[in-house]
């Protein structure tokens, strides 16, 4: 995978010097729950960066053009558009409140001047069109500049309206609303490589939609047992293959991944491939099942590999080998002895995401204490970095962090018991082509770039 894809994207992790670039969000210690970022996603070109939060809002940042003549600094991301995507709803039939939290955002490939993205909460997916307006028509015949209608009898001559520049206005409008197709909570959406369809997955079902059609969706995976008492696993994430429009994968709470081929049958209940690593019986505990639950699955850009994240590790799988992953990277193995406490404070249920860099040579995922981890697949080296306000000087390089697991704590190390489990990095994103990463730390969005430009 080394060197493949992505122009100008060198190998990952340690060869880089990650430097602080920007931080977005309030500095206030008191974090409002609605401001907590729940998803981060770059678009296909990397010029736009979207975040969704628990309050149902979407904020899109756009990268400034690099025309300032500063060769060593890349364009900064500034707010481009902010809109309320989802509102809290109430299901009267079940007497349940539906959270407005944005679970996932996925961009559509750009086909014209406007940008499109899909955003979803627990129940409803929306297709948003984000378009720019920088011209305004003036000189209407039937209405004057205020917008008031003119009296037709007073119109003695006709004129052609002309377009005049105006301040840039970015408008977001919901173009499609895909609702009422999921009984359970939606955890994933994924746009197909055909750019016409997409999938949405909840705990027990995966539906296939056409972007143009909102009143129908096809159920392609259904793992709901006839008797709910026999429920043993749920779907935790799903994604379409980046190139093969008939292939999708979905992960389960049991630590397995199933690859399905939509050509084989309408209902893909029978998988084409089944990925599972045999469990190590020596590490069995009360919480073995919980920590083996996969929280995220991502195809590599090449489409040959996929990566899964469970509570303590990330694994890279070769699609051609179902028996075991080709790589396993420990994210925070020092937490294995703390599982009971993490169960008590619910941290063990945290769903960490993971991401590939543009060339698939490095992977990144988050941890606690605002730490995030990067693994270089070529050099087999890994690094732990921290997203914090203290390291937020412009272009300040991030220092690798180390967690001390026992014994004497060295200087600059932090002991496991000192970790702040409320500061968790669940969502990270990597620019599709360049060495820019976006890391969501609760209500703040950190953007880091590598020094080597």
């Amino acid at each position: 995978m080394a060197g493949a894809g992505g122009g100008g994207c060198p190998a990952g992790g340690n060869d880089f010097q990650w430097c602080f670039s920007q931080v977005k969000g309030a500095i206030d210690e008191d974090v409002a729950e609605a401001d907590i970022i729940s998803t981060v996603e770059f678009n296909y070109s990397g010029d736009l960066l979207a975040t969704g939060d628990k309050g149902g809002r979407v904020v899109i940042f756009q990268r400034e053009q690099e025309n300032k003549g500063r060769t060593h600094s890349r364009g900064e991301y500034n707010v481009y558009s902010t809109f309320q995507s989802h509102e809290p709803e109430f299901d009267y039939l079940k007497s349940l409140e539906i959270e407005e939290k944005i679970n996932k955002i996925r961009w559509l490939p750009q086909q014209n001047a406007a940008h499109f993205l899909l955003s979803t909460n627990d129940k409803t997916i929306k297709l948003w069109k984000i378009s720019e307006r920088d011209k305004r028509a003036e000189g209407y015949n039937l209405k004057d500049e205020d917008g008031r209608l003119r009296d037709p009898f007073r119109i003695t001559a006709l004129r052609v309206p002309i377009l005049k520049p105006m301040d840039l206005m970015v408008e977001a409008s919901p173009r499609r609303i895909f609702a009422n197709a999921h009984t359970y909570h939606i955890n994933s959406i994924s746009v197909n490589s055909d750019h016409e369809t997409y999938l949405s997955a909840d705990d027990l079902r995966i539906n296939l939609w056409h972007l143009e059609i909102t009143d129908r969706s096809f159920n392609i995976v259904d793992i709901k047992p006839a008797n709910m008492e026999e429920l043993t696993e749920v779907i935790t994430a799903a994604e379409f293959h980046p190139h093969q429009c008939n292939v999708l994968v979905y992960s389960s709470s049991k630590g397995t991944i199933r690859l399905c081929d939509m050509r084989s049958s309408a209902l893909c209940d029978r998988h084409a491939k089944f990925f599972e690593e045999p469990e190590d019986p020596s590490s069995r505990s009360f919480f073995s099942e919980i920590i083996s639950s996969i929280s995220d699955v991502k195809f590599s850009h090449s489409g040959r590999y996929m990566m899964t994240r469970d509570y303590l590790s990330v694994k890279v799988w070769d699609l051609n080998m179902e028996g075991r992953p080709v790589e396993t990277h420990q994210v925070h193995e020092y937490l294995r002895s703390k599982l009971c406490s993490l169960y008590e404070n619910d941290c063990i249920f945290d769903k960490f995401e993971c991401c590939w860099n543009g060339s698939d040579s490095a992977i990144m995922t988050g941890s606690y204490n605002n730490f995030f981890r990067m693994f270089d697949r070529n050099t087999r080296r890994d690094v732990t970095l921290e997203a914090s306000r203290e390291n937020s000087k412009p272009r300040a390089c991030l220092k690798p962090r180390k967690v001390c697991t026992g014994g004497k704590r060295k200087k600059d190390e932090i002991s496991v018991d000192s970790l702040d489990f409320n500061k968790k990095i669940l969502h990270t994103a990597w620019h599709p082509m360049e060495s820019i990463i976006a890391v969501a730390a609760t209500n703040n969005l950190y953007i880091f770039q590598d020094k080597i430009n």
Partner: protein
């Protein structure tokens, strides 16, 4: 021993989570609850399989940790004094007939009937346990408590609330009122306290079936349990809690999984036959496995209700 303590603690925590999930915004999260139920099952297995008799969270006075679902008509042997101890043979023998198919409504009735001791215990436990834990345990308690002797009327007042709360989710008819009539003893209130606490969604639902079995057993149980009633009264809440938790484990533990599942019909017949035999060996285990199957319905109700 340590495993048992740890298992007990994990069970308590798990039950609390299940209860809390009910009131969380956004509705019940299926994934999380599934994982919690798996942990609950693991902890339960450890808890029940640990043959250490010394450490009774249930308390010293041989307060029987409630045996798993009491079948109607049979006085539950009652929780053996502490986990892991074989229940008194006589008590055991009364392994109730298979409970009618999970009839939540009927189950609901039971809370009231049948528990004299449990009442006291329940009351104690209910107060002792944190609200949420108690709530989730309510269902189990309803059942479990029954076998205990008519407890020193733990709280007639509390009872009605408890069972009622529990039943409401299930839509069971208010059995509360019936209990006193059936019992004619302080017992009816007994189960209530516990249930009341646990009247959370999860607990409520789970609890419904449990109560069902209790009423029948109650009469016999009362006579057997009487002696211990007094002791139970003085038992610490801690003990009660354990007993309840044990029952809860049995109720919740086998949900969400077909692994423990055996054919209900076959299970029942075997259950009675096995009562006397295996009881001595692993009373908890035997008690839990089969009866639990029947009692899966309360939890499954919750699941189905998603």
């Amino acid at each position: 021993m340590e495993f048992k303590l740890e298992a007990h603690r994990i069970v308590s925590i798990s039950l609390g989570k299940i209860y809390n999930s009910r009131v969380q915004r956004g509705g019940i999260k299926l994934h999380k609850n599934l994982l919690v139920s798996l942990v609950l099952r693991s902890a339960r297995q450890v808890y029940l399989s640990d043959p250490c008799p010394g450490l009774y969270l249930a308390g010293p006075t041989g307060i029987p940790t409630v045996p798993p679902p009491q079948q109607p008509g049979e006085p539950v042997a009652g929780p053996p004094s502490g986990w892991g101890e074989p229940p008194p043979p006589s008590a055991r023998a009364a392994w109730p007939e298979p409970e009618p198919q999970p009839q939540r409504p009927s189950v609901c009735h039971t809370p009231g009937t049948g528990s004299s001791e449990p009442v006291a215990a329940v009351a104690g436990a209910g107060d002792a346990l944190p609200g949420r834990e108690a709530d989730s345990a309510a269902a189990a308690w309803g059942r479990v408590e029954r076998p205990r002797a008519m407890a020193s009327g733990g709280g007639p007042d509390t009872c009605p609330e408890g069972p009622r709360a529990v039943r409401r989710p299930c839509g069971c008819p208010p059995a509360r009122e019936e209990q006193p009539a059936e019992d004619g003893s302080p017992a009816p209130p007994a189960p209530c306290p516990r249930k009341r606490g646990a009247a959370g969604v999860g607990g409520g639902r789970a609890g419904c079936p449990a109560p069902g079995s209790t009423p029948l057993k109650k009469p016999r149980r009362n006579s057997e349990e009487q002696p211990s009633t007094g002791e139970e009264d003085t038992d610490t809440d801690e003990e009660m809690e354990t007993g309840n938790v044990a029952n809860l484990i049995s109720i919740f533990g086998s949900s969400f999984s077909g692994l423990l599942r055996k054919s209900p019909a076959g299970g029942r017949e075997e259950e009675e036959a096995e009562e006397s035999g295996p009881e001595a060996a692993e009373p908890g285990q035997i008690c839990c496995d089969k009866p639990v199957l029947r009692d899966m319905s309360p939890w499954s109700t919750a699941i189905v209700a998603f």
